[in-house]
Amino acid sequence: MPSTQSPPLLGGAIDPTAVRPPIDDAIVERVDPSRVHQRLAELKNEGYTMLLDVGGVDYPQRTPRFDVVYHLLKMPLRKTSVSEVGTPQRLRLLCGVPADATTLPTATDLWKSADWAEREIYDLFGITFDGHPDMRRIQMPNDWEGYPLRKDYPMRGPARERSPRPAFALKTNVNAGTPPSGRTLEALQKQIARAKSGAHGEQS
């Protein structure tokens, strides 16, 4: 059974979106990064007034490596009844982003709602959006290193050796003197080391 710490990379080379079974959930289109903004603007004029979601997917062994996925919905821009809304058309625009040029033009000038979605893709995948008014991390802390939703990012965060322990756990931080119990940190560590080496019965 594979470890849950490293999700299987098998299949990253193939493109699941190309071999998908016939599921009728939306019109699917693929577009180059150079044309994505133009295409989005066209679609908006065609009546796809709602940018429902922008998501990202990482296929490390594929070229281009990333997919940025726009989900659009054809919705009238006025007060409507249930029958007027009907079954609005969905459209999915997939845009492949190569690993060496992880930049896309922003969609925030077309839809205000793209703001947080694009920030989230930057935060979790490291794809930046040109012309975005506020390109900061959104979910992770500002000083976080790495992009967690990339497939090469370990499931439990960066290796523990690489990250220093928090200040309160460092030995140099213990300066309160001997605690009332008399058990200093060093004594405790010795005790643990003894227990680990299996030297039982050596009570000092």
Binding site: A26, K79, V85, W111, W116, L124
Partner: protein, 407 residues
């Protein structure tokens, strides 16, 4: 990682003139969780509002990639913790679409799913109403709504075994049939509900204080609502009757009679009324499901032991069942490669999963379309020009859940 993060600077909001930057939250009681809003104010008036989210980020989408298809669902239920069944419902539907077994789900399972989804919707709106009432100073509403919610949680516990996260709706059906006496308990809820709604409406709807606080506060036109990607009751309060249950019926929703409540005004009071109406519409659906459940028997789980574990009682009797059970628990099941976008109507709006499978026994990518996040984002367009005190009303009327906003 060092813990000394760079502090949130006032650059978040542009500074000029006599404006002052005020940080509201992340521990403000009216923010319904951990939301920080950087406000630029002139006196009491909001010039600009920039919500800061991410305080509750737990990496659920990443975690799902390391789980089996069946166990990832448990994580998904933790996103919108006020409506766990709706999350499980949407995830199960998406995976079933990828597996190509959508039309093999037993009739009874589909009915139980709808029943659970609608019960959860009422329970979720109960929390919104209770806590929203507290925000506005109407403390006693909380006790009325949580009493009603308690009855629903009891029903969920009876069916799924847990009050908050029952994990009852599974890929392939639901986990076990409804227990004995469930319908009777449901009946007592159905009987109690109209009176309780009458109480709530009497307490709130015509209350002049609440009307003063809510009417004409946080107005969204249909254009703005669509532009900001608002869905659910908040969109319908602006006059756009978009309900996923009607637009893309799933799990047999097309068989039930229910209205989609809409309002024209688009203010906080309209959103409040739409949710109240929605609770009653949900109860209408529940009554119809109840009648159908009495007529429909049969299995509640798909008869495909590759996708669903065999019934527990067969394990001691059949070698095959034992093997299938073992394989299911240790290896999970495989899903054909492909991607799918499945939308459902959660209490907060269009909840959707964009799921990519690479043919393995774990999801390759689970992307949620979190309705709360987009609804909350509209605060940036809604808040400027209002008073700080009204911001609390607007947040309450959007009903965000931060487990889902931050995931």
């Amino acid at each position: 990682m060092s813990i000394s993060a760079t502090p949130l600077t006032p650059e978040v909001v542009s500074k000029d003139g006599n404006a002052m930057v005020l940080s509201m939250g992340p521990q403000h009681p009216s923010t319904h969780g951990v939301l920080q809003i950087m406000l630029e104010i002139e006196g009491e008036n909001i010039v600009k509002a920039e919500p800061e989210i991410g305080y509750l980020h737990t990496g659920i989408e990443k975690n799902c990639e390391g789980q089996f298809w069946s166990t990832a669902q448990t994580n998904c239920e933790r996103m919108d913790y006020l409506a766990p069944s709706n999350n499980a419902f949407c995830y199960a539907l998406a995976v079933e679409k990828l597996l190509g077994i959508t039309d093999q789900i037993p009739e009874r399972a589909q009915q139980i799913r709808v029943l659970n989804a609608e019960l959860t919707r009422i329970a979720s709106h109960c929390v919104w109403l209770g806590t929203g009432g507290i925000d506005l100073g109407a403390l006693s509403v909380f006790f009325y709504t949580f009493d009603l919610r308690e009855n629903i949680l009891d029903l969920q516990e009876a069916a799924g075994g847990a009050r908050m996260h029952p994990n009852y709706i599974r890929v392939g059906g639901v986990n076990g049939d409804l227990p004995e006496g469930y319908i009777e308990r449901l009946d007592s809820l159905i009987e109690k509900f109209p009176g309780r709604m009458r109480d709530l409406r009497a307490l709130l709807q015509a209350n002049p204080i609440l009307q003063d606080r809510m009417i004409d506060v946080g107005i969204m036109t249909p254009e703005e609502a669509v532009q900001w990607n608002v869905t659910g009751p908040s969109l319908r309060a602006s006059g756009v009757a978009y309900d996923v249950r009607r637009a893309y019926p799933y799990s047999g929703y097309e068989q039930y009679q229910f209205d989609v409540p809409t309002r024209e005004e688009g203010d906080s009071y309209a959103r409040f009324l739409v949710r109240l109406d929605e609770m009653e519409e949900s109860m209408r659906i529940i009554k119809q499901v109840r009648d159908r459940l009495l007529k429909t028997g049969g299995p509640v789980m798909i008869d495909d032991t590759k996708v669903a574990p065999p019934p527990k009682e067969t394990i001691a009797l059949s070698m095959e069942a034992l093997i299938h059970h073992f394989k299911y628990m240790t290896e999970g099941f495989r899903v054909p490669p492909g991607d799918v976008y499945q939308a459902t109507e959660s209490p907060r709006g269009e909840l959707a999963y964009y799921i990519v499978s690479d043919g393995g026994n774990r999801p390759y990518r689970v992307r949620t379309r979190p309705p709360s996040m987009y609804n909350l984002q509209s605060l940036k367009g809604m808040a400027p020009g209002n008073l700080i005190a009204d911001l609390v009303v607007m947040i309450g009327s959007l009903d965000p859940v931060f487990g889902e906003v931050d995931r």
